[in-house]
Amino acid sequence: MRPKYENLGSKDTRSGFGAALLELGEKDERIVALAADLASSVKMDAFAKRFPHRFFQCGVAEANMIGVAAGLAGSGFIPFAGTFANFATGRVYDQIRQSVCYSGKAVKIAASHAGLTLGEDGATHQMLEDIGLMRGLPGITVISPCDYNQTRLATLAAAYWEGPVYLRFGRPAVPNFTPAEDPSFQIGKIQPLLEGKDGVIFATGHLVWHALQAAYALEEEGLSIAVVNVHTLKPVDVEGIAHYLAQTPIVITAEEHQMWNGLGDIVSWVATQHYPRRVIRVAVQDTFGESGKPDELLEKYGLSTAHIIAAIQRALEKA
């Protein structure tokens, strides 16, 4: 009998970050936070109110925010620098590269509103290239948790994880289905959610829920599809991914990101080294997004539950 993951009540993942930041602040005086005029959107306002002397409002000046965070880390503090994923990566790539990663500064970059599901603000704000940008940097850890509870746990763990961390989460309320305390969540390890012999879906972020829904739908057609949550995109759990590649030739990746440089590339890279497999990518197909409701965008850009089901069926036909 496979586990049935239920929605415990939809919540935004960014609030999971905010809750954890406040918890961290309560128990550790080394925790400091920096915002770039998006403190409330990124859910840092509770921390800012509770610990005003450990909160630094930087204004709309992200490059400086990253540098200040690097200096605070160098002094022995644990800085969380938060803004939208676009401004947390592309805008400050060189600052993260030189002042943070190359300098070995354990800055925790909290990137909210990632992906298409930011919604109505449109493509200027829908960051779809950040996983690729960040995982290309030596020394950084990249985490993309799947729901509110996991974002909270990932934030708590990121604080004490060695080195810089890029923490990716989103804007809309989405199903919260992992437990509040979850020993199966470990940075650097895949999290198998469903076992299955007829195929595997590797998913990350918001699309993990959709992958589960796809697997349940296919179960009704007599197919048993594994779902693996790849919340840590760097370092890659090569052994964990290879284990599932070994079990089935039907391999799908699902991510709210460009088809390049993200989870699809990661799984394909492991496949080329361990178990050569055809990897079908459910991802944004090298295009920019647009304004719309989150669900409309997932549907239009090919990232919905139905698209994951179709990808599995396509893989089965080719097998």
Binding site: N64, G71, G74, Q95, S99, S103
Partner: protein, 286 residues
């Protein structure tokens, strides 16, 4: 007066060797940035030998309990490496490895190889002031009364991040921060007033809410120390402090002085011999 003479003589002796080191390092590597390094040799010497409160041993990367120094215009690191070595951070002999494979003395300062004295990588310009602010805030949170010093290049202040940082430091009253601009009016493509004019610089920093000091005799040790001392007096009064130091690029080698072409090229053999004649050995060579 006797004191000033002694200061000039003692520090002058060290700075002269630093200049000689810079030229020998860049010549031997056939790579590096001699112009700015020669221009900042005096101020770096004054900082490390007569002013900063430092604890070279044991090397403490956090910088808590001592003054912190950051070289934001990392390309002039030949002079900084020489000063660090001669101040005891690492063996003087290591200067011979500058810009070579397997060296801790990278082409631009880096932390990865573990060179004592370097707390953050710099080279891509415009980033060091923000990092210095972070260290200054760290000191504030840790109740450490020491200060953070950061040197900025003249061309470097073209970068937008510098002005983001300038706003931030004033807004947050980061008053344990003292920046020094290497105002030699030179950048790679020429005179700063031709490439991208930043005049009037004092007025700009004043308008941004900083306490501004001008150092006109930037190669005269008593003047350097007098200005640094004024900067420390002005620190801890709710405002960040900046010293605009009117240096001469290439100072000490006549044909390199005030010539932007010496930003980032090594001398050839003939030029090296001409330069080294002007830089007599005052301490042991590396």
């Amino acid at each position: 007066m006797a004191y000033f003479c002694r200061v000039q003589e003692e520090l002058g002796k060290i700075a002269a060797q630093v200049r000689r080191d810079v030229i020998r390092m860049v010549y031997q590597a056939q790579s590096g940035h001699p112009g700015g390094a020669l221009g900042m040799a005096d101020i770096l010497t004054a900082l490390y030998f007569a002013y900063l409160r430092l604890q070279p041993h044991p090397w403490n990367p956090t910088g808590l309990g001592e003054d912190v120094f950051i070289l934001s215009n990392g390309h002039i690191c030949a002079a900084w490496y020489s000063v660090l070595a001669r101040r005891g951070y690492f063996p003087v002999s290591e200067l011979a490895t500058f810009r070579r494979i397997n060296s801790r003395l990278q082409g631009h300062p880096a932390t990865k190889e573990g060179l004592p004295g370097v707390r953050v990588a710099t080279g891509s310009l415009g980033q060091g002031l923000s990092v210095a602010i972070g260290y200054a805030l760290g000191k504030r949170l840790a109740h450490d009364p020491h200060e953070v010093y950061v040197v900025l290049g003249d061309g470097e202040i073209n970068e937008g991040q510098i002005w983001e940082a300038a706003l931030f430091a004033a807004h947050h009253g980061v008053d344990n921060l003292i920046a020094i601009i290497d105002r030699n009016y030179k950048q790679i493509d020429g005179d700063t007033r031709t490439v991208l004019n930043t005049d009037p610089l004092e007025a700009k920093w004043q308008a941004f809410g900083w306490e501004v000091l001008s150092l006109h005799q930037a190669h005269h040790f008593p003047s350097i120390l007098q200005t640094l001392s004024e900067a420390r007096q002005k620190a801890h009064h709710q405002r960040p402090v900046i010293i605009i130091a009117y240096t001469t690029m290439g100072k000490g080698v006549d044909f390199m002085e005030n010539d932007h072409n010496w930003h980032g090229k090594p001398p050839n053999k003939e030029q090296f011999e001409k330069a080294i004649q002007q830089l007599p050995q005052t301490l042991e060579d590396f």
